[in-house]
């Protein structure tokens, strides 16, 4: 990790000499540690807690929703997100990133607060469905947004590949929800 930071610094210094603003140049070396840049790390560190919370929220659906369509949607999203989360964790391990959630306790876009999750867990029927649908839309939109940043500014091929797949999948799912 340290190596990538040093490289990022050098890259930043080199980038400053140009007259016009320019995107982050790719790092010149390619050791395993330096393959992940700051955006890769931040994207992994954000997507993992987002998906973990989302899976927890979806897990309420079988007991709390009475609408078969909502239950079916939750089941589909659960399967897709479990696979996605496993891929994210594998990348995090490869990047040797800390496993602790740096954003825990903070209100983050696309996520619910712990209090909101606890409140949702107590809702039943249409009241539950309404909050769940809103959160599904929020989650899909925000995860697609940050994945677009990872596609544009990320560096590690595995990250960019997964971000591309997530962005496509979540954008399509959000569109299907209307």
């Amino acid at each position: 990790m340290r190596k990538y930071l040093v490289l990022a610094l050098v890259a930043g210094l080199l980038g400053g000499c140009g007259a016009q603003p320019q995107p982050q140049p790719p790092a010149p070396a390619a050791s395993v540690a330096s393959a992940f840049n700051g955006t890769d790390a931040a994207w992994l560190g954000l997507m993992i807690p987002m998906d973990e919370q989302f899976l927890r929220i979806l897990s309420f659906a079988p007991a709390n929703s009475t609408d078969p369509a909502v239950r079916r949607l939750a089941a589909e999203l659960t399967a897709g997100h479990q696979t996605e989360l496993n891929q994210l964790i594998a990348l995090r391990d490869r990047a040797k990133l800390p496993t602790v959630n740096a954003h825990a306790g903070h209100d983050m876009p696309g996520m619910m607060t712990d209090e909101e999750v606890a409140a949702l867990q107590k809702l039943r029927g249409p009241a539950f469905d309404k909050v769940l649908r809103a959160e599904v839309k929020d989650h899909l939109a925000q995860s697609a947004l940050v994945s677009r940043s990872a596609i544009a500014a990320g560096q590690e091929p595995g990250v960019k590949k997964l971000a591309t797949a997530i962005e496509k999948d979540h954008t399509a799912r959000a569109a299907a929800l209307g």
């Binding site: 990790m1 340290r2 930071l5 040093v6 990022a8 610094l9 930043g12 210094l13 980038g15 400053g16 603003p21 995107p23 982050q24 840049n37 700051g38 955006t39 790390a41 931040a42 994207w43 954000l46 990133l97 800390p98 602790v100 959630n101 740096a102 954003h103 825990a104 306790g105 903070h106 209100d107 983050m108 876009p109 607060t113 712990d114 925000q142 947004l145 940050v146 940043s149 990872a150 544009a152 500014a153």
Partner: protein, 409 residues
């Protein structure tokens, strides 16, 4: 006890700075102070004759270059004017120098083509000792002064607090964080930015170096940001926005070896993982001019006429190596028992962020973009020019002198 006193002084200093003390009358600091010279021509031309206020008596050196006359001001003083009344045996080249110990000297003025007579010099310096050092005589005789006078502008001794500051008004809001979410616009909760006006998700230190700034002094191109404060879901921006750079927190001998904050350093301070008021031990809330309202890690109910204020101290020990770290914290550490730990051996100035929000009364409608008051945190991206930071560390922090936004006492 000393540390507690310094803390109190720093807080008092913060109030004084806000109220903007008027410039007091000029004071002659040097009259009848102990004077010492490298040499005297004879018993009738002693060093003391140059500080006696009498234009009929004078100091004269032996007939050589590199002679000096030194005044002991008794304690460290800041001064802004020096008056020299030369006798016919004047100096073509000389320097005005200061020292806190009478051994190591800092040159604050140099003349190389002096013409004698009365020389009124605007200089800026501080120190217990002030001397005129004659590098080149104008005549075959020595150097001779009827009077050597040193004037201070504030009429009092300097405040013994290691401090300089920048006042940086609110500039803009964005759901961006170039430290935590580099090149990821919209990835964060809402932040309120201070200082550099260009900061967004893609900002690098070079962008900051070329940015306009809201800071006084305008040489500070750094970027500072915090989660946006909301009152009943309306954003409220602080109207008091002072960023102090302090020596306090470590022993005086550690302060004496504080290093400048490295250019491009990034720090996140405050407990990002706070899930309750007791998790965040660094950030604290209080009420301006209403200390009896208390202080705590969550919002405080401030009395009418007061303002809610947030204090946040950044860590002041650097690992000497990294400008950032994966968690944006572990390259920095807080001191232990007045010194920096061996893992983070380099003492740097402590950034103390003081924000004053124009709100008071019930805290029921208050929240931060990140959550409760206990989630307060601050991000700092250092873009002070290297020489400006170094000068302030050298002039204000290490010698323990309270400086203003201009980096002078």
């Amino acid at each position: 006890m000393r540390k507690a006193l310094l803390t109190v002084l720093a807080v008092l200093g913060a109030y004084l700075v806000t109220s903007g003390p008027a410039q007091a009358a000029e004071t002659l600091l040097s009259q009848n102070r102990p004077a010492l010279a490298s040499s005297t021509e004879n018993a009738g031309t002693p060093a003391a004759a140059a500080v006696d206020g009498n234009n009929g008596t004078r100091w004269a050196s032996s007939f050589a270059d590199n002679q000096w006359l030194r005044i002991d001001l008794g304690s460290t003083q800041s001064f802004n004017r020096v008056l020299l009344r030369w006798e016919a045996a004047y100096a073509r080249g000389f320097q005005i120098q200061t020292s806190n110990d009478g051994n190591g000297w800092t040159t604050v003025h140099t003349t190389t083509n002096g013409t004698g007579g009365e020389q009124n010099l605007t200089v800026s310096g501080s120190g217990r000792y002030v001397r005129v050092f004659v590098t080149e005589r104008a005549t075959q005789y020595g150097a001779s002064l009827w009077e050597f006078q040193v004037y201070g502008g504030t009429g009092g001794p300097i405040v013994r607090v290691a401090e300089f500051l920048a006042d940086c008004a609110y500039t803009h809001r964005l759901p961006d964080d170039p430290i935590v979410f580099p090149n990821m616009p919209g990835a964060s909760h809402m932040h309120s930015f201070f200082g550099a006006t260009v900061t967004n998700a893609n900002t690098t230190v070079d962008d900051l170096a070329n940015s306009p700034t809201s800071c006084n002094p305008s040489v500070d191109r750094s970027s500072y940001w915090v989660p946006t404060f909301y009152s009943n879901n309306q954003p409220v921006e602080p109207t008091g926005t002072t960023f102090y750079y302090l020596g306090e927190g470590v022993r005086d001998d550690v302060i004496a070896r504080i290093q400048p904050l490295p250019y491009g350093l990034r720090i996140v301070a405050g407990n990002a993982k706070a899930t309750g008021p007791n998790d965040n031990t660094i950030s604290r809330w209080s009420c301006l001019h209403a200390g009896d309202a208390g202080a705590g890690h969550d919002f405080i109910t401030c009395p009418a006429g007061s303002m809610l204020e947030s204090y946040l101290d950044f860590p002041q020990c650097w690992n000497g190596r990294d400008l950032d770290s994966p968690d944006h914290k572990s390259h920095m550490a807080y001191p232990v028992n007045g010194d920096c730990p061996s893992t983070h051996p380099v003492p740097v100035p402590k950034l103390r962020q003081v924000l004053r929000y124009p709100v008071n009364g019930s805290t029921a409608g208050f929240r931060l973009a990140s959550g409760g008051g206990f989630t307060m945190h601050g991000d700092f991206f250092n873009a002070w020019p290297v020489d400006e930071m170094a000068r302030r560390v050298n002039d204000c922090i290490r010698p323990i002198i309270k400086c203003g936004a201009d980096g002078h006492p």
